[in-house]
């Protein structure tokens, strides 16, 4: 029996063309409380939500130079929740006046057998870390304040040590391609956090 023909047309539409707009910054541990208070006041009126996640980064080394990167993330606070697989593309090299980092983003919710599946596919885990912190939202804006922990023994998330004495603050929006007004809103919001934390677009290439 022949294998059914696989469509060769590229998949467009749906969740494939979502762009992630990102602004990042950091605060020291001492300044965390005031930042949380400020965010509680600026963001939507909900109970503050805290999270604890374990992320594993998988690489697929092909014959070409650039390896393909996938991020698999699971929640330690809510074990039954599905895993989250994420692909982040290269940051778009648009005009410099755009205030946020824009990159293609594909999000998929998967079952709990994700690591084995990726291993079978040929991916190899590059590194893993644990992130704990708080998450806020304002409309479609998401603010994540997290502390990163290094996993000492592979697979053991109990034994971790903090990576630094600071918290990572990320402001992100998931929007379909082409909406540039989103970055304006993000910049306005970042302005309101100005003296506590400076959120700016950080190009990962320049820091590598």
């Amino acid at each position: 029996m022949e294998a059914p023909p696989v469509t060769v047309m590229p998949v467009t539409g749906g969740t494939i063309n979502m762009m992630e707009y990102l602004l990042q910054g950091s605060v020291l541990d001492q300044a965390l409380d005031s930042l949380l208070h400020r965010l509680r006041g600026l963001c939507d009126n909900m109970e503050p939500e805290s999270f604890a996640d374990h992320e594993m980064v998988y690489l697929l080394k092909g014959q070409q130079g650039n390896p393909f990167l996938l991020r698999a993330r699971r929640s330690l606070a809510h074990p039954p929740a599905p895993w989250h697989l994420r692909y982040l593309g290269q940051p778009e090299v648009g005009d410099k006046s755009r205030h946020a980092l824009v990159r293609n983003c594909v999000d998929v919710a998967t079952s709990h057998s994700l690591p084995e599946f990726l291993n079978e596919m040929g991916f190899r885990m590059d590194h893993e870390f644990v992130a704990k912190g708080h998450i806020f939202r304002k409309g479609s804006l998401k603010v994540v304040v997290s502390k990163l922990f290094r996993v000492l023994v592979q697979g053991n998330t109990e034994n971790t040590e903090p990576l630094s004495l600071s918290y990572l603050v990320e402001l992100s929006v998931l929007a379909p391609a082409g909406q540039d007004t989103v970055s304006e809103d993000m910049r306005a919001f970042a302005e309101q956090l100005k003296p506590l934390v400076h959120l700016e677009k950080i190009d990962p290439k320049r820091h590598m």
Partner: protein, 667 residues
């Protein structure tokens, strides 16, 4: 007063020098000195209220005792000893008054006890005489004159005037101080009153801020009266501006309702609005739609509420009504339904049931005088379903709360926003049906239409039952509505009974569950019947149940009366066909078997009662050759109809009981 030690009684005496004192040289005329006893007793103590307690004077025997204590009886009683005694006594006395003058120590003690008194008086007398003489000589002015002592000329110049001036100055100073203090006090009191009356802008602003969201932009104070922070997604900005009220004339009296703060609301939120939901019979033509602008009386001002508060609340209500109406009209256009909804200007019209029209309209009155003249007729008060308007508000608020619920927050944190159950769709491989069931399928409009349908169905059911109950007396119909209802479901228990025989004939009990479009009837015997929304169906059903009840009642009555049921059928196939339901029939025989009663009751044809008599009571029976024995004459024979309407008794069962009683002969 001299306390003479020589007086053994140690009493005090007052010496009064009476008379005029003449000048005496040695041996002048004697001056009379009279002595009287003071009769004063020594004060022992003075009590707290001033009463003096005197030492009681010693009685004679006590006095004697005291004296005898002083006598030294060991000395003996001869003259030498007397002298010795006298000397000793002298020595004693000398010791005892060391404070006496030296002159009196050498004095002969045995002499007179008044001696020192006399001496002192004598010296006083001498002094007085000398003074008298000097004054006489000075009076003659020959040998001695009085020379006045020179005085300070300034001392007595006008001492009173000076004192007056100084006192005046001092009083003036004191008065000035007091006046200054009083002025300060009165000024501060006046200021306080001024402030309280004016109600400082800042304190009013504080009060405003305690209830509404404010922020400062530049030099303007802006506020937010939208529901955005509560979860609304309506794109209206809802910003109001706070301005200081400066058009106050301080000279004139400040009016009672003066407020130093004024709020400026967006122009499209002015006035007041409400959503009118009403169900009417379908209008014959869709001609004059979309011109509803009915007014409702303004709610009474609560004492103590600020005018800005009322203004802001009204504006917020207008905004919420606009949001609700926008959502409803959006759904009315998007959602496909069998009968499309009509959206015209400020009204949405849909048809819940054929022949019925549900209209939801946004009534916004801007408070302009012009608009008020446009609709002169009074609004019909019972048209508007307040419950549905309230439910609309509640549904909108629930929608707001849902957007803010924590079920939207993703775990792990990098996952996109969305309902957490939907994220399971991928891993759990849901199919389309399951996904559709997860998503909120019903919009605001559909929910409201369902609720309206239910309300309408319920009121129509109640009306049907009530009209039947008032129209038909014989089997009585009772409806017990349950208190606890749902927005989509209510229930009522309907009992059909005969008056006076409720305990016997209670076989027809119906439980009606009124839903959105249908009525489900559960019979006591277990049958479940579903009726549609047609009013006629329910009415016909109830009528048929009533006719069945009569026959059931006869059955129960027969049991009680001792009659035997020969046959019973709920749905009789004989006789004229009923248009509503079926006729039921029963045949009962008397206890001794002589008589039988046959009843046929139909909802339309009414009741027919026939009595079967024994053969020997009928005269018209033809004689037959077949029947030869006489005993056959005791069997029941022909039937005779009863003129039921002429029968005595107030209802069917009573009449039946009387009939049965009449046909049961006394033993």
């Amino acid at each position: 007063m001299y306390n003479n030690a020589f007086n053994p009684a140690s009493q005090t005496y007052v010496v009064v020098v009476g008379g005029v004192c003449h000048s005496i040289m040695s041996g002048g005329p004697a001056v009379r000195v009279s002595i009287e006893s003071a009769c004063e007793k020594q004060v022992q103590e003075v009590s707290l209220d001033g009463v003096e307690t005197y030492v009681p004077p010693l009685s004679m025997s006590q006095n004697l005792a005291r004296l005898t204590q002083r006598i030294d009886f060991s000395q003996g009683s001869d003259s030498e000893e007397e002298g010795g005694v006298g000397e000793q006594r002298d020595q004693e006395w000398g010791k005892q008054e060391p404070e006496e003058d030296e002159a009196t120590v050498k004095f002969q003690p045995s002499l007179w006890p008044w001696d020192s008194v006399r001496n002192n008086l004598r010296s006083a007398l001498t002094e007085m005489c000398v003074l008298y003489d000097v004054l006489n000589i000075v009076k003659q002015k020959k040998y001695m004159t009085l020379d006045p002592v020179s005085q300070d000329p300034m001392a007595g110049k006008s001492p009173q005037v000076f004192q007056l001036i100084s006192k005046k100055k001092a009083l003036a100073n004191a008065a000035q101080l007091l006046l200054k203090g009083a002025e300060k006090l009165s000024k501060s009191v006046a200021e306080n009153q001024e402030n309280r009356r004016q109600r400082d802008f800042n304190s009013e602003l504080l009060r405003l801020r305690s209830q509404w969201k404010l922020r400062k932009v530049g030099d303007k104070i802006l506020g937010d009266l939208s529901y955005r922070s509560a979860g609304s997604l309506f794109p209206h900005h809802g910003t109001f501006e706070v301005i200081k009220n400066t058009d106050i004339d301080l000279d004139k009296k400040i009016p009672e309702d003066y407020c130093p703060l004024n709020v400026q609301i967006p122009s499209d939120l002015e006035g007041s609005a409400y959503i009118k939901v009403s169900i009417q019979k379908q209008a014959p033509d869709i001609g004059d739609l979309g011109t509803l602008s009915l007014f409702r009386r303004q709610p009474k001002l609560k004492a103590g509420t600020q005018p800005w508060h009322l203004k802001l609340e009204a504006a917020q209500n207008v905004l919420l009504c606009k949001e609700i109406f926008a959502q409803l009209s959006r759904e009315a256009v998007q959602i496909k339904s069998q009968i499309p909804h009509i959206v015209v200007k400020n009204q949405i019209i849909s048809q819940p049931f054929p022949g019925l029209q549900l209209s939801i309209s946004l009534c916004h009155s801007t408070g302009d005088k012009k608009n008020q003249k446009a609709s002169p007729e009074k609004p019909k008060p019972d048209d508007h379903l307040y419950v549905l308007e309230h439910n609309l508000h509640q549904l909108m608020r629930e929608f707001h709360k849902h957007t803010l619920s924590s079920t939207v927050m993703p775990h792990p944190a990098t996952a996109p926003f969305g309902h957490k159950r939907l994220r399971l769709a991928g891993p759990m491989a849901y199919d389309k049906a399951e996904i559709a069931s997860l998503q909120q399928s019903e919009g605001l409009l559909e929910k409201i239409i369902k609720q309206a349908k239910h309300i309408f169905l319920r009121s129509r059911t109640a009306r049907t039952i009530d009209s039947l109950a008032s129209r038909i007396e014989d089997p009585q119909i009772q409806a017990h509505w349950s208190n606890i209802n749902d927005v989509y479901e209510s229930s009522v228990k309907v009992l059909i009974t005969s008056q006076g025989y409720e305990q016997i004939c209670k076989s027809i009990q119906l439980q009606l569950n009124i839903g959105v479009e249908q009525i489900r009837v559960v019979h006591r015997d277990g049958r479940v019947i579903t009726l549609s929304h047609q009013e006629q169906e329910l009415q016909d059903f109830l009528l048929s149940q009533m006719s069945q009840h009569q026959v059931h009642a006869v059955q129960q009555l027969a049991k009680v009366m001792g009659w035997h049921v020969l046959s019973f059928s709920n749905h009789v196939g004989l006789g004229p066909v009923e248009s509503i339901g079926n006729a039921s029939a029963i045949t009962v025989a008397s206890p001794n078997g002589e008589y039988a009663i046959s009843v046929r009751n139909g909802p339309e044809s009414g009741c027919k009662v026939l009595v079967q008599f024994p053969r020997n009571q009928c005269k018209e029976l033809p004689k037959s050759d077949v029947i030869q024995d006489n005993k056959w004459n005791h069997l029941r024979g022909p039937y005779k109809e009863v003129h039921w309407s002429r029968m005595e008794g107030r209802n069917f069962v009573y009449k039946m009981e009387l009939l049965m009683a009449a046909l049961t002969p006394c033993p």
